[in-house]
């Protein structure tokens, strides 16, 4: 068999790189360019101008300055990050035991359990989020149950809903919707990580005097760190920019950046401002992504 030469190897790597270049980097540069452009009623002015034999580059940074100074934008960014973080933590708390019991279930049962986790994907995401509206609205199935057990009073006390009985269009309904939607993205990487774990390590821990609880915290959790990081990133990153769920389940209190973006584009028709918002959001998301890939590289190195 002929060994693939440098050309072959380059071709294999070139395909994904070309994809990213054409469908991610170029559009992003277009967006970044618009974000520093001036608007003239309905047209966007070029930032590079050739006038009287002089090359003039006009980059309007006013949009970014506004973003950094305007309380509304800052609060929106902050609340996006907070909602994404809360959702991530909730997904982890609910998803970890889920993934753990799936990974420790009988081998023959595991494909079925995995199927159940993925089952929601068979139905449109939009429909499922919309269904929550019906469940949470007054006299909705879930709303009634929550009122019955008195959970709404606790939620009101925590300022997650304005008052007892008012569940829809609140921080509560938003977080509920996001947690529900993104839970599988937490469970799947955690499951694949936990299923790979060498169970003899738990026996070794027990042999050395660790109770099941201690062994879980000292061995299972540290060893599943790569899965936790992967799941957290898969939940956190899309949550920051989430538009549909805040639109359907959120309310006036729950301004998120995706909504702001929509408003700038379609209500204010201010494309440069909208692009500035988008670029800033991408940068906000790139930081955790960089952390994620660093962990991944480390995990791969440790595994080899």
């Amino acid at each position: 068999m002929k060994k693939p030469g440098r050309g072959g190897r380059f071709a294999v790597i070139a395909v994904p790189y070309a994809w990213l270049l054409v469908f991610f980097l170029l559009p992003f540069l277009v967006v970044a360019r618009i974000s520093v452009s001036e608007m003239e009623t309905t047209t966007i002015k070029d930032i590079v101008e050739w006038k009287d034999g002089a090359l003039a580059i006009t980059a309007k940074l006013g949009n970014y300055l506004l973003l950094a100074q305007d309380d509304l934008y800052l609060r929106t960014y902050a609340s996006s990050l907070v909602y994404a973080a809360v959702t991530t933590v909730l997904c982890l708390v609910i998803g970890y035991p889920f993934a753990y019991f799936m990974a420790r279930a009988r081998r023959s049962l595991q494909p079925a359990l995995l199927m159940l986790v993925m089952l929601p994907f068979w139905t449109s995401f939009l429909l499922r989020v919309y269904a929550w509206k019906a469940l949470l609205t007054e006299h909705g199935l879930v709303a009634d149950a929550i009122e019955q057990v008195g959970l709404d009073r606790a939620l009101a006390a925590a300022h997650l809903i304005p008052g007892p009985g008012q569940l829809m269009n609140t921080p509560f309904s938003l977080i509920l919707g996001m947690t529900y939607t993104y839970l599988p993205f937490m469970i799947l990487p955690l499951y694949s990580n936990l299923a790979k774990m060498d169970l003899r390590l738990l026996e070794a821990a027990a042999d050395l005097g660790a109770s099941a609880w201690t062994a879980f915290w000292r061995v299972t959790v540290p060893l599943s760190r790569a899965g936790i990081v992967a799941g957290a990133m898969l939940v956190f990153i899309p949550c920051v920019g989430e538009y549909v769920i805040p639109e359907l389940l959120g309310g006036p209190q729950t301004q998120m950046i995706g909504r702001t973006l929509w408003d700038e584009f379609f209500s204010n028709n201010d494309w440069p401002m909208a692009c500035a918002v988008a670029v800033t959001m991408v940068l906000l998301v790139i930081v955790p992504l960089a952390v994620f890939s660093r962990y991944q590289a480390e995990a791969t190195r440790q595994a080899s």
Binding site: R200, L201, A204, D207, G209, A210, S211, P222, R225
Partner: protein, 383 residues
Amino acid sequence: MRVLLENRGFATGARMADDAFLRIANLVKEFDGHRAVDDVSLDIAKGEVFALLGSSGCGKTTLLRMLAGFETPTSGTITLDGRDLADLPPYVRPMNMMFQSYALFPHLTVFDNIAFGLRRERLPATEIAQRVDAMLKLVQLAPYARRKPHQLSGGQQQRVALARSLAKKPQLLLLDEPLGALDKKLREETQIELARIIHDVGVTCVMVTHDQEEAMTMASRIAVMSEGRFLQVGAPAEIYETPASRFVADFIGNVNLMDGTLVVDEADHVVVDCGDVQHRIGHGITGTRGMPVTVALRPEKIRIRRDALTSPATPDVGVNRAHGTIKELAYFGSFTVYHLELASGRILKVSQSNAERQQGAQLTWGDAAWATWTDLSPVVLTQ
């Protein structure tokens, strides 16, 4: 090797029933109706190094896992130092195990791996550090304390695993195929090192192995296991020189097994007729004339030469000797193995140590040769 012999002498001397440190009584473990361990009883004295030897699936690992508490016996009892272990979960049993392929925690350093058990006892940090350092010195890994397991060689990982299982000063050390994951050369070195450490620490030890050399060099006593039962329990030499059954003779080392009939049955000797070979064997057995028996004869206890010498060792012409042609020959350096084909077609395995450097006239393929042995060489098996 002196260490090993001392160790062995001590332990065999201490082997008395009322002295039992670990007592296994009528232990049974069933999996779906199949008996993995079938009514096993055993006493192990303090300081003994005991090996459970058998091929895979013989129940030795299940027995070890019941000692550690990872499997619950179907019936029977295990007592350690007079204390019934039945209700003790693994994490409170006063014993530690060195796992097959070690099960070191990959996310912890060598130091933290060894300290893991000590930290569970909530010892003060300074004491933990002292104990871990002592363990690292014992296994000669002090410079590697900050490394992660994946940065160590197989032999070093094995020593970390040993240090980790000894750190809590267990009353009983369990070893599951302690050298199984090492290659041959390293295994030979580690075997002696491991035996030295266990002896220095003086811990009572039960090991599981499928490797007879490992069992014989390290253990003071061996139990040969098959299908969940002990076939023979004894010192290594005992098991090798006087196997109790065909299975044990065949399992431990190389052997020529010859079926025959008991023709002379005296108090001090017997004669067995195997058709083409007559054996005069210098020990009596409990049997009757005419009963079918098997003669076991180890290859290294046979001499092979070009001509039949009559010597005081083989007084009767016609017994304890055989004539044939050399069918196969394997030169191992320190010794040579010959396959001698007798006129009847029987193959007799003979191994001869190469005490002198081989010169021109040695035996080779197709040569006719005589095999001779003394009446102290073979052993009669009735099972």
